[in-house]
């Protein structure tokens, strides 16, 4: 579904990604871990098309289409969803109106008619329950005055509503207490299916106790330096990243 080949990117002349290779198939759950500043969030931003990043080399293919050629809104319409690490607040725009606009834009792109109000509300109710999102947040302005946990839950709720093929969760666990973490993880688990793929970016193994990944990748200095299964996450939790960095330096010096 998603193929990343030798991806290099920089921001303000600083090289951030230095040759990422990654293959993600339908229905897979990939976790990306790594120390601060390794390029995890940058990878998410480049995939979503944030314009302060410049891709200098490499390719990204999504369902056979060149993702890097597309405007951010078209990437979203094609089915790439980014759950933001820091969701923005938009005063005056109700959550409901925002979601209706987003959903109908995506539908229009796919040649589908706009959802009627009743159908839309039905869908909203259904998805609210699925991810345990309070209905009283629906008529409030988008993320305005939401707590950190509510904002993250809103991201997962939007994910449920927009039903993308690929969801990238950028440190969705940061700033969540244990209860909120469980609610968010449950929501993600309920959304997993054979058609949908996930990339979960996280610092901590804790999230991966709830969301069990198929693959764990370690990103360091703009490259994936190790790939494993969920056991790799446990090992990282125990030993930190230093042993991997040493391994890497040994390899490079050989």
């Amino acid at each position: 579904m998603l193929t990343i080949k030798n991806l290099h990117a920089e921001v303000e002349g600083k090289k951030i990604l230095k040759g990422i290779n990654l293959e993600i198939n339908k229905g897979e759950m990939h976790a990306i871990m790594g120390p601060n500043g390794s390029g995890k969030s940058s990878l998410a931003s480049v995939l979503a098309g944030r314009d302060n990043y410049t891709v200098t080399e490499g390719e990204v293919w999504f369902n056979g289409k060149n993702l890097l050629d597309m405007a951010p809104e078209d990437r979203a319409r094609e089915g790439v969803f980014l759950a933001f690490q820091y969701p923005v607040e938009i005063p005056g725009v109700s959550n409901l109106n925002f979601l209706k606009t987003a959903l109908n834009e995506i539908r229009a792109y796919k040649g589908l008619p706009a959802l009627e109000a009743r159908e839309f509300l039905k869908l909203t109710k259904e998805k609210q329950q699925l991810v345990d999102f309070h209905s009283n947040l629906m008529n409030r302005s988008l993320n305005e005055g939401f707590s950190g946990g509510e904002k993250k839950r809103n991201e997962i709720f939007q994910l449920a509503m927009l039903d993308p093929q690929l969801a990238i969760l950028d440190e969705t666990d940061s700033g969540l207490d244990i209860d909120a973490l469980r609610i968010v993880s449950n929501g993600v688990n309920k959304l997993r299916d054979a058609e949908k793929s996930f990339v979960v970016i996280t610092h901590y193994q804790r999230l991966l106790e709830y969301i069990i990944p198929d693959f764990v990748h370690v990103l360091y200095n703009g490259r994936i330096i190790k790939t494993g299964t969920k056991e790799l996450a446990l090992e990282l939790e125990e030993r930190g990243y230093d042993w991997l960095k040493e391994e890497l330096h040994l390899k490079e010096s050989v």
């Binding site: 314009d51 809104e73 979203a76 923005v88 005056g92 725009v93 925002f98 987003a102 959903l103 834009e105």
Partner: protein
């Protein structure tokens, strides 16, 4: 990939839609401002002696006055002698019905989306169309007459209802009020007149549409609305002008009078030509608008959507004289390119238990400069007066300006006055967030702007709320979800 800066540039440079001009035979007075021209206008309109006297008093006051200096923009040089003070489409004879209006004029208004043919007109809206200095047509007059509602051009009111005009003209905005009001008193050409009799709820929206067409003219119309005891009227004014390289002056006066328990709702969608992106041309919109709640429990509500003009300079105000009367001011002012808006309101609480509410939403884009200036004054007799003011500014891009000058003067310690203000900016982060949910940048800006102004647009009559929303979208690119 479109980035948000390009979107912002687009917004700032969007063309003006109503910039065409109409080629029609005109009677135009020679340029210059003097007593002769005032006598000429008065004679042309066959006015009674008292009105000519009043004009001349206005002119005398004008000559003693100077342009104010407190505004937050550089006052342009105005050569009032270079303007022509009278321009009217040449008519062949007295018109008896709409069918006799020059087809060129009807076509012009059609093009502006204001059909004057009653069959095609918006149902429930009566229109008075003012072209340069004169009113060219008023629709649904007959229907309104049945209910005793008078809705006609100012000139006609002077002929047909001189007592009402004489009683109320200048009673809210005297001819000595300010330099532009004095100028207007001297040379006003036409405008609209409304009288709603006791106990009548006006069955349709009344609307005046102003169009400046001729070159080197000023438009100086006067609107006078009187709502008698227990009556109600909703009134809307709209305006456009052709694109011209030189600036044109629009110095109108609007007076509203609400008697016992009467209510007047006055809405403006102002779309005068704003000038090009370098600030060349455009209308100077220097207007004096004021209403008085004379009667107990009367109410006046101003709603304005200001998107046009090179400079907008006006403060629709309310004098709350009657006990328990209410005043409201809802405003959206948009500036882009090099537009300037210095606008707001003045509310004078005089009667007991008077209430007022001010909601002002400024939007600045391009190199526009937007100021809110407001006064809430509570007099010694106004026990338990209550005011709430909310004043928000939204910035798009990083070359625009926004300023707030709120004044509060209270001389009664039982008064409660609240003022809230916010300033926000449409950030690239917000646009990217919406992009990532499948919404393109143009729509994203529209979504944010519409969310921001919703509270004000909700005050407009339905048809016009839709129009205003469209206008905002044209002005700021994008459309509404």
């Amino acid at each position: 990939m479109i980035n948000s800066n390009e979107i912002i540039d687009d917004i700032a440079n969007k063309e003006y839609e109503f910039g065409f001009s109409t080629d029609i035979e005109m009677d135009i007075a020679p340029p210059g401002l003097n007593e002769d021209i005032i006598r000429f206008i008065s004679a042309k309109k066959n006015e009674p002696e008292w009105l000519l006297e009043w004009r001349l008093k206005g002119f005398a006051a004008f000559k003693k006055m100077e342009f104010p200096k407190w505004q937050h923009f550089e006052m342009p040089e105005l050569d009032l002698q270079a303007l022509s003070y009278y321009a009217a489409p040449r008519k062949k004879k007295q018109l008896n019905s709409l069918d006799e209006v020059d087809p060129e004029l009807l076509a012009t208004f059609e093009k502006l989306g204001i059909p004057l043919n009653e069959q095609k007109a918006l149902t429930g809206v009566a229109v008075d169309a003012v072209f340069d200095s004169v009113s060219v047509a008023t629709t649904f007059k007959g229907k309104l007459k049945e209910m005793g509602v008078i809705f006609c051009s100012f000139g006609e009111a002077v002929q047909e209802h001189p007592d009402l005009v004489k009683k109320y003209l200048g009673s809210v905005v005297p001819h000595t009020d300010n330099i532009f009001a004095a100028l207007n008193a001297a040379v006003f050409s036409d405008g609209s007149f409304v009288y709603i009799p006791k106990g009548v709820r006006c069955p349709m929206e009344l609307s005046t549409y102003f169009r400046i067409n001729a070159q080197n003219t000023g438009q100086f119309e006067r609107t006078l609305i009187i709502a008698d005891d227990n009556s109600y009227v909703s009134y809307l004014e709209g305006c456009t002008a052709p694109m011209r390289d030189e600036n044109q002056l629009h110095a109108a006066v609007v007076e509203l009078i609400a008697l016992e328990q009467a209510e007047i709702k006055y809405s403006t969608v102002q779309n005068w030509y704003p000038g090009d992106k370098d600030g060349k041309g455009g209308i100077y919109n220097f207007v004096t608008k004021r209403g008085i709640c004379k009667g107990t429990a009367s109410k006046i509500s101003w709603t304005q959507v200001e998107t046009g003009s090179a400079i907008t300079w006006k403060y629709p105000s309310v004098i709350l004289q009657g006990d328990h009367s209410e005043g409201e001011f809802y405003s959206v002012a948009v500036v882009r390119n090099k537009q300037i808006a210095d606008t707001g309101t003045k509310i004078h609480h005089i009667g007991k238990g008077t209430k007022s509410r001010i909601i002002s939403k400024g939007i600045s884009a391009g190199r526009g400069d937007n100021s809110y200036r407001g006064l809430v004054a509570v007099g010694p007799r106004a026990d338990n007066a209550r005011n709430f003011t909310q004043c928000d500014s939204l910035l798009i891009g990083n070359q625009c300006g926004s300023h707030t000058f709120p004044y509060i003067e209270s001389r009664n310690k039982t008064a409660m006055i609240e003022h809230e203000a916010t300033t926000s900016k449409i950030g690239e982060d917000q646009i990217f967030y919406l992009n990532q949910r499948g919404i393109d940048s143009e729509k994203a800006v529209a979504l944010i702007v519409n969310g921001y102004v919703k509270e004000v647009l909700n005050q407009l009559p339905m048809e016009f709320a839709v129009e205003a929303q469209k206008l905002l979208s044209i002005t700021l690119e994008g459309s509404v979800g």
